[in-house]
Amino acid sequence: MTWFDRVQAARDEGFTFFDFLTAVDLEAEGFEVVLRLWDPLRHKEILLREQVPRDAPSLPTVTDLFKGAGWHERATAEMFGIAFVGHETQRLLLSEAFDGTPLRKDFVLAARVAKRWPGAKEPGESDADLQAPSRRRLQAPGTPKDWGPQ
């Protein structure tokens, strides 16, 4: 079943409330688009997932089924660079001038480069001690080497 058909089938089964749509960056395995629906009568939820490749990731839009998915597809498009075919996704949160897809794991967050990691200090140290040269310091987990003010 295609993505659209699966979402439609779930809706027709009673999952008539659209909660959210987003994506997960699986790195080499591409992306997983996640959609949560809610059945307000039976008080049940359903989570639909669809994996898309890393190269030119795209899925058909579900805005024909749920108008409210529009904003979520716009955010997912700009944050992950995933296209939703049949939906001309305009920018939602980022400015037109913004370059890049900030929720992809390989995207370097500029704010984190500019801010020093508070965990770099050892017990008994303050900001001033961070100036001390040539000490091996802990690095924030999940950041590339040599990040932040040196």
Partner: protein, 140 residues
Amino acid sequence: MTPYEIGLAALRASKEQGPPPRSRGVIALLEENCTVCMLCARECPDWCIEIDSHKETVPPRTERGRPRVLHRLDRFAIDFGLCMWCGICVEVCPFDALFWSPSFEHQTHEAQDLVHEREQLREWLGSVPPPPLLEGTSGT
């Protein structure tokens, strides 16, 4: 009842009963328990806990003892403008120095006022509920 009426009724009930158990309003710091181990600052995914401290050597307590080095807290601040209420800092603290208070009335008009320094973090202790009773017979 319409969904709107259901929501309104829930809101009225919550005003009368107060926040539900384990509500996360704001984080309180019990400084006396903090050993400045830096674990919370390192585990916080949002980098919003700032801790400064210095080393202090205290003289030996007994005649043949050795002087000990203590870590003294100089600054402890949480930026609630960055915080996402994940609770990782409260969970990770090995010394029970951080607590959730259900108080959520700390809105401000200025982003920098969301940085709560140690005095403010101590004040939140006043609204921290007592710990839940232990289950079964383990508490008796």
